[in-house]
Every structure is written in C-alpha cells, then in structure tokens.
Amino acid sequence: MNSLFKQKRADHNIVVPSLSQRRFYGHGLPGVKLEALSGKLIAVEGADGSGRSTQITRLVEWLEGNGHATVQVGLKRSTLVSEELNKAQQGNILSRITISLFYATDFADQLENIILPALRSGFMVLADRYIYTLMVRDMVRGMDEAWVKNLYGIALEPDAVFYLNVSPEELVKRNFAKNHSLDYWESGMDLGLSRDMFDSFLKYQALMEHQFKRLQATYGFKIVDAHQSADAVNEVLRNEIESLLVR
C-alpha cells in the first residue's frame, strides 16, 4: 500500500537526478567529457540463475513508472563483435587472452556507442553484467590481475553495482529448474577442473564467488543476498537506487 502511494505521488513529482561525480577506473577513453554524463549507470552482476534478468526487468518497469528513461546493455550485445564472439564460443577455438580481448572489444563498443550517449542524454543505463564478471572470469583463468585492470581502465565507474550472490548449490538447482542442463562456459568446463560437469560447475562457481568477493574490496559494490525472494531482492535494489537519485 505504501509503495502504491509513493508511486502515485511520483507521477506528479518526478525526481530529477542530481549530477554524479564521475571517473574512469584507469586511463579512460580519449575525448569524453565526464561532466556531460547526466544519467545514471547501474550494473547488476551475478551468475546465470542469480535472478539478474528478472531484477533488471522489474527495475526498468519501476524506473519508467517514475518517469525515468532507460537503456539496457549486457555482455555480447555489441553490433561490432557479438556475432563473431558467439561463433567462436560455440567452436571453443579461442585461447584465453584472445577471448578476453574479444569480450573487452564487445564491452568497449557498447560503452562508446550505447552507454555514453545514453548517459549524455540523461538516461538510466542498466547493465546486465559489467566489467566485473569479465575481470573475474579472466582472473579465475589465471590471468594477470594488473593486465586485466589496465584493460578495463577504459570503463566508467557506475553509480551503483549490485552483485546478486547465490551459493553454487542453489545456482545448480535454479539452472536445472530452468533449462534442465548446465551451460558449458558457466560450468567452467574449459578450465579442466573436473570432467564431470556437475562437479565442475560447483567448483567453478565457487572460484567465481571467491574472486567477486575479492574484487568487492577494491570496487566496493554492494553484495545482495539473492537467496531471498525476487520481491525482497528488488526492494533492496530499489531502496539503493532511490537514495542514489535524490542524493
């Protein structure tokens, strides 16, 4: 009831977000005026089955209901390389540095052609995964952390990053309930942790979780316990975003 009332009030009194303090994580991109980026960038991270897409769909509805324009981005959605990247993954023929750079290209293309223009126009940009998943994947595969950080130094720091944390055991259940199968890459089969996919999935997701929590110390994103109901998780996200908009 309370939220319905708030919603009604918002129809007449739409919050104009305050300007963010913006920075790139590293060297950044040539020629970008940070002060012109008036929108907000919100990233949602988490494994497949953590409820990312559900949460993003709901956030979009809520934000639009409150009068904010939104744009969505995500991994492997660039015009430039998404097709080739998919093809390469199916054949599993790329080595790890190559995959990593290919994903970085995909990210950079969306950053420059979607994220930045949308932020310039004052949109709320919702990223269904951002650089952290990519960095964590690379680090789990033993790549040099300094190299990965330099590479993603082109990235803009988001206004909020949520990591939907679900235990590997629960992820297995959710993936089976949804697809009755585990994904090759989400099981980290390329790492040779185990020839048994179930086993490999658990080990791989545990490694990912560990690296995510390690990165959290540097990047300070908010870890959300996503074992809770979708409603409860969404409540957490909305509260955080709300305070971000009026800040």
């Binding site: 023929i93 290919f102 330099n150 590479l151 082109i154």
Partner: protein, 231 residues
C-alpha cells in the same frame, strides 16, 4: 623477468622471432618475403605471419571498418584480439617448437597507430604486454615523402581507416593520409632506440637492403640450428 619486456630468446624459447615494421610503402613486405625465401632455401623451419590476418577476428574487423563502426578504442582492441589469436595459437607453439617466425608488423604497429589515434600509450602497451618482444626488429625507413609517393602515385582508393579519416585531420583522403602517416613515422622514430630497432635505409635498392637484412640475420641467428628435419 617480465614477458612484455623480454625477447623470446631471453625467456628461453628455442625459436626466434623477427619482425619488420615501417610505413605503408616502405617496402618492408618485399624485404620480409625475400628473407623468408632465403631462409626456406637454406632449409630452415620458417613461419610467416601477417598483421590483421586471424580468420576468426577478420570478419568482425572488416565489418567494423566497412561500416565505420570503429572508435580509436575498439580499433585498438580488435587488432589486439587479432594479434592475440595468432600469438597464442601460432606464434608461441611454433617458437616453442624451434621455428624462425617472421612477422610483417608486430606490437609496434599498434603502439604507433593507436597512440596517434589518441589512445593512452600506457593502456595500449599494457594490453599487449602478454607478448614477448621480437629477437630482431627491422625498421624500414623510407622517409615520409618516398613512402607517400610509392602509395599515392598509383592514386589508390584509400580506405577510411587506412587514410586516418576517423581522426578528421582533413576532409581530403590523400591529405589525411599524409598527415596520419607523418604522425605514425614520428612514433616509430621515437620507439626506435627504446626497442633496439635495426633501422634500414629503405631508399636503397631492394637488393642492397636485402643483403643488409641477410647479413644481420646471419650474424644474430645461427640459421644452421634451425634446419628442418628431412623426412
């Protein structure tokens, strides 16, 4: 020992990598072709690799170029992806197997071009620091005017990125190409000492240059150690 700061020989690879660098029209491709023929005829195990030639990445690169989708950052990253694919799947295994690998352009091409396009030098170099340095790098210096004449005399159809049109240096592709190449040359010359380029005066006849190249390769690399096994 850091990979991006040492040569293959310094890191204990049995093989050797020789790279050629220079502006378009400097004659470097001709010279590396003749070097390859010489080594092959001497009976050595040789492999040749060219910039921007990985099958898989090529379709993305050509799409990006055709539709002018590339920014300096994605231009840099997609070429790094191409390089990484060749590096991991061909160059490293062959160098471990004791081949002489010849590269028409190596990381220095990216160091020069991407920086001219406005990417931070440290970022570009950092991205490529998974790659060992060549054991020998020839830089073919034909001077700007000669290189330009060799390319422009045929009035070729200059492609958008090739001419550096994305930098908006000039609306005339030929003028843009001149300015762009001039800036790349400056970058090459600045790197020459840092990376121990063997600078070859590319205004000399093809044969004169090739005899210098063969002489230097012969003095730095014991080709007899790289002979292919006859079956």
């Amino acid at each position: 020992m850091l990979i991006g700061q040492n040569t293959f020989a310094e890191l204990g690879f049995p093989g050797r990598l020789i790279a050629v660098e220079g502006l378009d029209g400097s004659g470097k491709s001709t010279q590396i072709y003749l070097l390859k023929r010489w080594l092959e005829l001497e009976g050595a195990r040789v492999f040749f690799s060219e910039w921007n030639s990985s099958e898989l990445v090529k379709s993305a690169t050509s799409k990006g170029k055709k539709r002018e989708l590339l920014t300096p950052t994605t231009f840099s990253l997609i070429h790094a992806t191409d390089f990484a694919d060749r590096y991991e799947r061909q160059l490293v295994p062959l160098l471990r197997a004791g081949y002489i690998v010849l590269c028409d352009r190596y990381v220095y091409t990216a160091f020069a071009r991407d920086v001219v396009r406005g990417c931070p030098s440290k970022w570009v170099r950092g991205n490529y620091n998974f790659a060992c340095l060549p054991d020998l790098t020839f830089f073919f210096n034909a001077g700007l005017e000669v290189s330009l004449r060799r390319i422009l005399d045929n009035r070729p159809e200059l492609k958008y990125f090739e001419a550096g049109m994305d930098l908006k240096l000039s609306t005339d592709p030929y003028e843009s190409f001149r300015i762009f190449q001039g800036r790349i040359l400056e970058q090459y010359l600045a790197m020459s000492t840092e990376f121990n380029f063997v600078v070859v005066d590319a205004n000399q006849p093809v044969e004169t240059q090739q005899s210098i190249v063969r002489q230097i390769v012969g003095s730095r690399i014991d080709v007899s150690k790289y002979l292919a096994v006859k079956y």
